[in-house]
Amino acid sequence: MRVSLTINGATRDVEAGAGDTLLEVLRREGVMGVKKGCGTGDCGACAVLLNGRAVNSCLVLIAKCAGAEILTVEGLARDGELHPLQTAFLEEGAVQCGYCTPGMMMSAIDLLTRNPDPTEEEIRTAISGNLCRCTGYEKQVLAIRKAAERMRGEGDE
């Protein structure tokens, strides 16, 4: 089947199998920031925004994505400038091996879009579907909080 969808702002017409997942199509299209971890929705490494909401792309069929807008970690930076969330992740050491990072960031974007001033508990809930085996989550929570401050125009910049 042919599916037309927008990936990080660019409209693409992709050829896919009727039973393909969004994750498989994205990676075939060269969007490699989207990781395949478990393939069962447990790890969150494949998280992308689908029409503004973070989902496990391994559990979304491409057939559901006709006309959809997809945002992945590749779509966060603008004009060569990292997104405040990316900067905060780097500064706080929230990236170690990096495998969970793209998915974790998309969960954080979903949160911060709706809740610019989240509590620590809300941050932890938002990333509860993203497994990280390196950091113990402390660094990511700090980074998301720091990004939230900067995106609200507060913080140290």
Binding site: G17, A18, G19, T21, G44, A47, N56, L59, V60, L61
Partner: protein, 287 residues
């Protein structure tokens, strides 16, 4: 993983069309809503998916105190809907927040949840104590109680209609609801869960509805205890007695997550906390 056996995905625009396509194909076709369980559990004999996304079933609306929720509304949509927040103090949203993770709640739908009826579901116990009715379509629209619909599963008498949505009758004025679940991790499914709705009039329990799920069987109402507690004075003793009776009444069994013995202990604690919260006691507020 891709569903390699799937050759066609249809997207009907009417209930009639969706039903006819399904009836024509029988077991070789599956309905598709959010798609989570379709990706995870579709057997390789399925060649056609019938996407319900074009049927306008994504609604969440209040109707004179009652709530109507469409089959393709996601868990997140339901949690965030003002109509749900205003129904029984947001009880349904509290239960739905236990479902997996936000990533899955953004895709998982009400219809998919009811169709799969996983025994660990956090949604079904909450719907059971709300006396939910399921709106079905199999050539014509009909409504049955969720309890009756689920009761037919595995009996050989069950049908596989198209699930259009649910209707939750208007809550009794002054009624409250409470939901508790224990999981090994924030993400894992319930070791056991309990849902309770009830009200208190003049210091005694009225119309208490209690359901326990993940026993590890699918949630069921605990009617014996509902009947015993009705009319009883609201006291810590009555709550503890009801909680112990509920724990004794469930069909607790061992599985990889917990033993039957542990589940009974857990049932008593979770039911006590639910009843305490509905009663507005300090333990209910704290737990």
């Amino acid at each position: 993983m891709a569903l390699h056996s799937v050759e066609t995905v249809l997207r009907p625009s009417t209930l009639e069309e969706a039903w006819e396509e399904k009836a024509k194909r029988g077991e070789s076709a599956r309905f598709l809503a959010g798609g989570i369980d379709v990706v995870l559990y579709t057997p390789p004999t399925v060649t056609t998916l019938i996407d319900l996304g074009g049927l306008d079933l994504g609604f969440v609306r209040a109707d004179e105190g009652a709530l109507e929720i469409g089959a393709t509304a996601s868990m997140t949509q339901i949690i965030e809907a003002p109509a749900v927040g205003g129904y029984l103090g947001g009880f349904l949203g509290t239960a739905l927040r236990y479902v997996a993770s936000p990533l899955q709640r953004n895709a998982a739908t009400l219809g998919g949840t009811i169709a799969m009826a996983h025994p660990w579901s956090d949604v079904i116990p909450a719907l059971l104590v709300l006396d939910a009715e399921v709106i079905l379509f199999d050539g014509g629209e009909r409504t049955v109680s969720l309890e009756a619909f689920l009761g037919e599963r595995g009996t050989g008498r069950e049908s596989h209609p198209l699930i259009c949505g649910i209707r939750l009758p208007a809550a009794t004025e002054g009624a409250g609801g409470a939901y508790r679940s224990l999981t090994r991790t924030a993400f894992d499914v319930s070791l056991l869960n309990a849902a309770c709705v009830g009200s208190i009039d003049d210091g005694s329990w009225q119309d208490v509805r209690l359901a326990i799920g993940g026993t590890p069987a699918l949630a069921r109402r605990v009617r014996g205890v509902e009947e015993t507690i009705a009319g009883a004075d609201v006291s810590e003793e009555a709550i503890a007695e009801a909680a112990d009776a509920a724990a004794a009444a469930i069909d607790a069994r061992d599985d990889l997550r917990a033993s039957a013995e542990y589940r009974r202990e857990l049932a008593a604690v979770l039911v006590r906390r639910c009843l305490s919260e509905v009663a507005g006691t300090s333990e209910g507020r704290a737990a």
